[in-house]
Amino acid sequence: MGRRDPLAEPAPLIRRVYAYAAYRLGHGPDAEDVTSETFERALRYRDSYDPARGEPAAWLIGIARRVIDDPRRRRELPVDAPEGVAEGPEEGSADRLDLQAAVALLSTGDRELVALRYGADLSARQIARVLGMKTNAVEVALHRVRTRLREALDAPAAEPDDGKRARAV
């Protein structure tokens, strides 16, 4: 009879929301702000959570998307390359940095897909619901994004290296 508390186990949810925001905005203070604001709103609207409409993670990601798209906070937010890329990889996390840099080069739509699938860890079906697409279409789009990412990672290091990678389109 009691309604399930969507924020009962917050730590994994915080990680998923942060990863989503970081894939969209870049690793750092902007992603932290979005995560913080998302949970602030989630706390305010905790009673409105309906388990029949999806898991807590999907609900939170919906809030995070609105926070990111909120015109009040939507200044020109550049997608920065991950910290440390310009200075070179640290502590053996080269793969991670390469990958995050490659994600930063993707288009907004592709980055959204990567953020939802590999940041927020949503299933294709959940992503389809969030984006208003068909599950098949999401799977195909994800496949294409992975191909593009692989190509970006396999390509020789000919990217502009002036401290900032090329902005996403």
Partner: protein
Amino acid sequence: MRFRKDEDGFEGLLRDARPEPPAELVSEIARRLQASPVRRSPRLRLGLAAGLTSALLVVFASVGGVGYAAAAASKAATAVSHAAGSDSRKSDASHTAPAANSNTAAPSSSTLQQQNGNGHDPHDPGHHQYGHDRVTICHRGHTLVLPQRAAQAHLARHSRDTAGRC
């Protein structure tokens, strides 16, 4: 490059490369969430009230309370309809033949006794209310409407009591 070409391996790598939030951010948000208690929604409260009411009704019904209440209501409705019927009959009588049928409007006790033989007064409201097993007697100057047995006992005990109105 370093990434395997197979789909699963690449996906695993994408997940492993997920950006991690600073530990203090996680603990700060978690602390804030745990500090604010979960409020019960109004819908939940309404549901709780409805559930409790249903449970009470079930308990009430199981001990016959519902039947008792229904019977009481039914009796009250019957009594009201009898009373209304009696009133309308009386008014009908007074409207149709107010002068010619004065016996019907105000019958004497002797007339009643003649009419029903046992002191039953068909025009008495008590007759309509309590049915045919009631008898009207005159006890010490007061007209009483009693159950048949009680009337018989009265008449046997009090020699001055008479059947019918006083």
